[in-house]
Structure formats: structure tokens, C-alpha cells
């Protein structure tokens, strides 16, 4: 039966809470309301207010408390109402949670997940459109995932919940209701740390994740139809650790790489990916490693501005053409 990206996340939460009584859900308006986006809908009714907890507006507490519960064996899944507000729980994530195992000499762990609805293209403006993933992909001890399909949304969340480390799970708001898939019923997981080749092609590789996967696939189809170009599309899925092998493989196979993401260009993950390729696939490159991303500004409010700043299918097609022509 067809399931939206949003429903897939909701199912993963239901199933994992049923599977493991140590899983708990905590955040602002997650219980009674079922979350600002209804992602946690039904959990309160199913599991009660001891495991589905409405918190005060205290992001640092939300993350810090989940560390305290996690180090004692719970598996908290906490929600930032918008990924943008993760800046208010920042220290607890990058210091308290990320270094916990290390500073306890490997004898304690912090099995928790921070869910963060991220992404632009929804008229959210500066503080409801952010893609903060690259703040976390530079922090050892964390794992960072960003699913782009309903299947991955469900499978990766389950893996993150079962993982013994702090995982930051970025779910793209624009995908919540815009994509639907038939999901296998019953339990399935998607391994952390593995990219997925969504489309094969010998001419050029697009490496992307999250919100821009679908635009990239559309662009690849257009480039094939209109220009006869065979474009390969790699979906990173996990952003920390990166799937080096998959990245280098596709780069070596096609020799031309375009990295695409909705996060802004400078300091986005594209830099790290391009650097890996420039270092380890250098001999195979037939052209410069190109990046297409949001412009280096804030995500603006007025539609013409937002449109101008964000990547889209059109811009990707143009980038494909210019790189193919190189």
C-alpha cells in the first residue's frame, strides 16, 4: 500500500516503540498534537505519556535529557520542531552526545536519535528552511542521515534508533507529502553508511542526497531525452560517515562529477565530496568536479528570491549540459 515519506517515518516510530520498550519520543508538541507536521501522530495513544513526552521549549534540555536517558539504556528519539532550532541544542549534540563514548573510554554509549525536519522550498524563509547537516558531518561520534525516499526514511530511522550512537536524522519537509511509495510490509532496515546508486549512466555522475535527489533524477531523464546523455545518480543517504567507496566508484566510472545539494555551496557537504574525488579519483577525472547548490546567502522569503537561490531541475539540467560539454 502506498505510503508517504511522512507516514513512513511515523510507521518506523510506531514499529520501533512497539519492538523495544526503551524507545521513547520527546519534543515540543509531539504528544498531544502529534507534532507540528503530524510525524508523531498516534504515538501518545499507543504508548502513553511516559514514553511520548511533550517538553517545554528547551532544545538544549531536550537533547541533554535524551543523553542522560540514553546513557542509562533508553533509546530516545527527540524532535527539533524545525531543524533550524537545532542551533539551540547545538552544544549538547556536538559536545555532550558526540564525545560521550570517547570520554568514557568506550565503556558507555549514547544510543539516541535527533529528528530534524529540514529543507527549503516551502516559503519558510530564513528560520524555517535551513539545511544544517554540514554543522554535524564534521563531528566525530555522530552519524548523520538524510533520506530522500519513503523506503529510506523508514529503513534509516529504524537503523538509527537501533544504532548505539547519537544519530542526527534530517527529514526533508518538502518530501513529507510530495512523495509516495509502496513499502514492503513487515520489518526492514537500511544500513547506515551506504549510498545508493539510483540511476546508471556512463557519461556523468550526479552525487546528491535529500531534497535534491528527485530534481537530479528528473534532470538526468531530461538530459537523456533531450541530449542523449547517460547520467548516473548516486544518493548518499548517510552523510557521516560518507560512503567513500561508492563516491569514488561512480567518479572513476564516469570521470565527470556534479555534486548537488540544497544546502548552500560554501561549507556544504559538496566540498568534502569533491575533495575526496579530487584526491582519490584524480587519475580518472575527465573534467572539473562541479558543484551546484543553494547560493551563498540566507534562504529568502519572497518567491522570486527563493527560486533564485535554490537549486532546481532546470539549473541541474544546465549544469549537466555544461559539464558534459567540457
Amino acid at each position: 500500500m502506498e505510503v508517504t515519506y511522512l507516514k513512513a517515518i511515523n510507521q518506523a516510530l510506531h514499529e520501533e516503540m512497539a519492538r523495544d520498550e526503551n524507545v521513547l519520543v520527546m519534543g515540543e508538541d509531539v504528544a498531544e498534537l502529534g507534532g507540528a507536521f503530524k510525524v508523531t501522530e498516534g504515538l501518545l495513544a499507543a504508548f502513553g505519556e511516559e514514553r511520548v513526552i511533550d517538553t517545554p521549549i528547551s532544545e538544549s534540555l531536550i537533547v541533554g535529557a535524551s543523553v542522560g536517558a540514553a546513557v542509562l539504556g533508553m533509546r530516545p528519539v527527540v524532535e527539533m520542531q524545525f531543524a533550524d532550532f537545532i542551533s539551540c541544542g547545538f552544544d549538547q549534540i556536538v559536545n555532550t552526545a558526540a564525545t560521550l563514548c570517547y570520554r568514557h573510554g568506550g565503556k558507555a554509549s549514547c544510543p539516541m536519535v535527533v529528528r530534524a525536519p529540514s529543507g527549503a522550498g516551502v516559503h519558510g524563509a530564513l528560520f524555517h528552511s535551513q539545511n544544517p547537516e554540514a554543522w554535524f558531518t564534521r563531528v566525530p561520534g555522530l552519524k548523520v542521515v538524510a533520506p530522500a525516499t519513503a523506503y529510506d526514511a523508514k529503513g534509516l530511522l529504524k537503523s538509527a534508533i537501533r544504532d548505539d550512537n547519537p544519530d542526527i536524522y534530517f527529514e526533508h519537509k518538502r518530501l513529507y507529502r510530495s512523495i509516495k511509495e509502496d513499502l514492503p510490509d513487515g520489518d526492514f532496515t537500511v544500513p547506515l553508511g551506504r549510498a545508493e546508486l539510483r540511476r546508471e549512466g556512463r557519461d556523468l555522475s550526479i552525487i546528491t542526497y535529500g531534497g535534491t535527489l528527485h530534481q537530479s533524477l528528473d534532470a538526468a531523464r531530461i538530459a537523456e531525452k533531450e541530449d542523449g546523455l547517460a547520467v548516473e545518480v548516486l544518493d548518499l543517504r548517510t552523510l557521516l560517515p560518507l560512503d567513500r567507496e561508492a563516491i569514488l566508484e561512480t567518479a572513476r566510472r564516469t570521470g565527470k562529477v556534479l555534486v548537488v545539494h540544497e544546502d548552500r555551496l560554501t561549507g556544504g557537504i559538496g566540498g568534502e565530496v569533491a575533495a575526496l574525488i579530487a584526491e582519490y579519483a584524480f587519475e580518472y577525472l575527465d573534467g572539473p568536479v562541479r558543484r551546484l547548490a543553494a547560493l551563498d546567502t540566507h534562504v529568502p522569503f519572497a518567491p522570486p528570491l527563493e527560486e533564485f537561490v535554490l537549486p532546481n531541475t532546470n539549473k541541474i539540467v544546465n549544469a549537466i549540459r555544461s559539464l558534459a560539454a567540457y
Binding site: 498531544e32 539551540c88 530564513l126 548552500r264 560554501t266 547560493l295 522569503f301 518567491p303
Partner: protein
């Protein structure tokens, strides 16, 4: 428009009656503006999140009335009334909500995040509570420069749970800074009732934890709010140090226009809708001998004209040009250097 030169206190030599009529005008204007914004949102002319302050007008009106030019105010996300009272042109405010070029942020940011420092209104970020340290910093400047100004920060009872609120109040207390913290306790933070937000009766009681005074007042009673505000603001201006005022009120509409607010009890809503600050104040004006029918009619006409003029102005204002997205990232530097390179980097994708 004369009535937009800012709050009445700023109008020299106004009589008590003039002053009270002015306050009435403000509440009516804010209410009309709120209702129009909700309608424009339903018509998809105002995009993004819209947070109505309908029912809470007496708070903004009463707190802003005693303010002067040069004072600093950080409104919360429901306080469009603050912009109007501080003298921001209603047309520009409406253009802001419609993401137009003539909006305060020139279409860059949404709803009330665009500020107008020329009227002492700070554009807060969405991060609740984060404007309190900023207001404290403004007060610090006033104290360093020995200026007679004060800073005001509005926040909700939900925002009160943020660490920033604690850090801001503590420092304000230590330095005895001229800052007023105004908590609009409307009983809900999105769906979260006050009981889940704090285990106490009054946020204002926290003031003593920082060495200054907290006051609680009925937020829908304009006379109570303005009376208290005048006393407290005078004492802050006189160097008495920070204070907190908590106004008990209620959020009439959903958290945002998207929210049906099914989580709350209709009885409670009805009770609070009956505590409408406007008829309450009209009743008082009646006792003062005003002809209410005439007053209502006149005021409604002025108010509707102002709002309609604002809407017309905003509708005729263009959307900003796409390239402007790269402006104002840095002060006085035109295009952001990084943005320029990004534009280059994105090459054909962007330029075509």
C-alpha cells in the same frame, strides 16, 4: 499619516481624553490589521506562517504607549501591533507580510522577522527567547552612554523556558540595566498548555530569582496594563533597574493560521473570547461620557481606511528582483563576496 508618528506618549501635550481615545484607536487598528492579515492569508496573499495576536491587543497597546523615541523594542511573533505603535508605516508593514520590495526586509524575511531600527523595532529571529539577550545588550548600550532610553523584550510563557531568557534576566539583574521583560502568557505554546511548560503560577515570580521585581496583570484589561506599564517604565527610566511584567491573556486563534487548535477546550475559548479587551475599554470610555456609537463609527472608518490604504500600498509594491537575494548579506558591501562566487560557480544554472 499623523497617527503613525508613534505612540501617543510621544505626542506632546495630549490631554488625558485624547490619550485614551488614541489608545482606543490603536487597539482597534491592531485588531483590524490582524483580521485583515488572517483574511489575506486565506487568500494566499500573505505566505508562510501567520501568527495572530487577536485578543492580545491590550498588552502591546498598554506597554508601548509610555515608550519614547529612541527606546528599543523586540516584539514577539504575534506583536504586529508593536510595529504600528512604534510608528512603522502600516503600508510597509503590510508589504513586509506580503514579501514585497517595500517591506521592512525588502522581501527577504517573513512575517515579523523584518525589523525597523529607525523606529527602534528589532527584527527578532524565530528562535524563541533569543531576543532577550539582544534587548539586554541594547539596555547595556543605554546605560554605558547614560541615555534615558529603555529596552523592552516581549516573550511568550513558552519562550520563557529557553535558556536565553535565564541568561538575559540574570545579567540584566547583575548590571541593573534599563530593560523591561514582558511575558504575554496566553496559556498555550502551540499545543502545549502552561502546566506542561512550567510548574508555577506566574512567570513573573521568576524575577526575584534575578534580583528585580515581577508584576502580574490582567492582560486584556487595557487600563490595568497601561497603568502598570507607566509606573514600571518610569522607574526603569529613572534608573531603578530591570522589571518583568506578566500579562495573563489568551490566544484566540490557533497557534498559526494553519492550526485548528483542536487540543483545547471550547469552554475555555468562549470564556476568554468574552474577555475581549476592546468592548471592555469601550465600556470605560462610555463611563467617561463618550458617545460610543459615534466613536465606534468614526474609529472604524479611520481604522479601515488605514488598513485598506496599507493593503493597497502593499499590493502595488512589486516583489523584489531575484538578484536581490544576494544583497544585504553583509552591511554596506552590496553583493556578498561568497554569493558572487556562488553565482559564478553555479554558472549556467543560475545565469540562464
Amino acid at each position: 499619516m499623523a497617527e503613525h508618528d508613534g505612540a501617543p506618549a510621544a505626542v506632546p501635550g495630549a490631554t488625558r481624553a485624547e490619550h485614551e481615545l488614541q489608545l482606543y484607536y490603536w487597539m482597534k487598528l491592531i485588531r483590524a490589521f490582524e483580521e485583515r492579515v488572517s483574511r489575506l492569508h486565506r487568500q494566499n496573499k500573505v505566505l508562510g506562517g501567520v501568527y495572530s495576536g487577536a485578543g492580545q491587543e491590550a498588552i502591546v497597546t498598554g506597554i508601548c504607549a509610555p515608550l519614547r523615541d529612541g527606546d528599543f523594542v523586540a516584539p514577539l511573533h504575534r506583536d504586529l501591533g508593536v510595529f504600528l505603535m512604534r510608528g512603522v508605516d502600516p503600508g510597509r508593514l503590510m508589504a513586509q507580510l506580503m514579501a514585497k520590495e517595500d517591506g521592512l526586509s525588502r522581501g527577504k524575511d517573513s512575517f515579523l522577522h523584518g525589523g525597523d531600527m529607525s523606529h527602534g523595532v528589532f527584527g527578532s529571529t524565530s528562535m524563541l527567547g533569543s531576543s532577550l539577550p539582544v534587548a539586554v545588550g541594547a539596555a547595556l548600550k543605554f546605560s554605558i552612554k547614560r541615555e534615558q532610553h529603555i529596552a523592552v523584550a516581549f516573550f511568550g510563557e513558552g519562550a520563557a523556558s529557553r535558556g536565553d531568557v535565564h541568561e538575559a534576566m540574570n545579567f540584566a539583574g547583575v548590571r541593573k540595566l534599563p530593560v523591561l521583560f514582558v511575558c504575554e502568557n496566553n496559556r498555550y505554546a502551540y499545543s502545549t498548555p502552561f502546566e506542561k511548560q512550567a510548574a508555577i503560577e506566574n512567570i513573573a515570580d521568576r524575577a526575584q530569582a534575578y534580583g528585580f521585581r515581577g508584576h502580574v496583570c490582567p492582560g486584556n484589561d487595557l487600563l490595568a496594563v497601561v497603568g502598570l506599564a507607566e509606573r514600571v517604565i518610569d522607574s526603569i527610566r529613572a534608573g531603578g533597574g530591570p522589571s518583568m511584567i506578566e500579562c495573563k491573556t489568551y490566544r484566540w486563534r490557533g497557534h498559526s493560521e494553519h492550526d485548528p487548535a483542536l487540543y483545547r477546550d471550547q469552554e475555555e475559548l468562549l470564556e476568554w473570547e468574552s474577555r475581549d479587551p476592546i468592548p471592555q475599554f469601550e465600556f470605560y470610555l462610555g463611563k467617561r461620557g463618550h458617545d460610543l456609537t459615534r466613536l465606534r463609527a468614526e474609529t472604524d472608518e479611520r481604522v479601515n481606511q488605514t488598513v485598506q490604504a496599507a493593503v493597497d500600498f502593499a499590493e502595488h509594491s512589486p516583489f523584489p528582483k531575484a538578484e536581490e537575494a544576494l544583497e544585504d548579506v553583509y552591511a554596506g558591501e552590496g553583493l556578498a563576496p561568497a554569493a558572487r562566487s556562488a553565482a559564478a560557480a553555479n554558472g549556467p544554472g543560475v545565469t540562464k
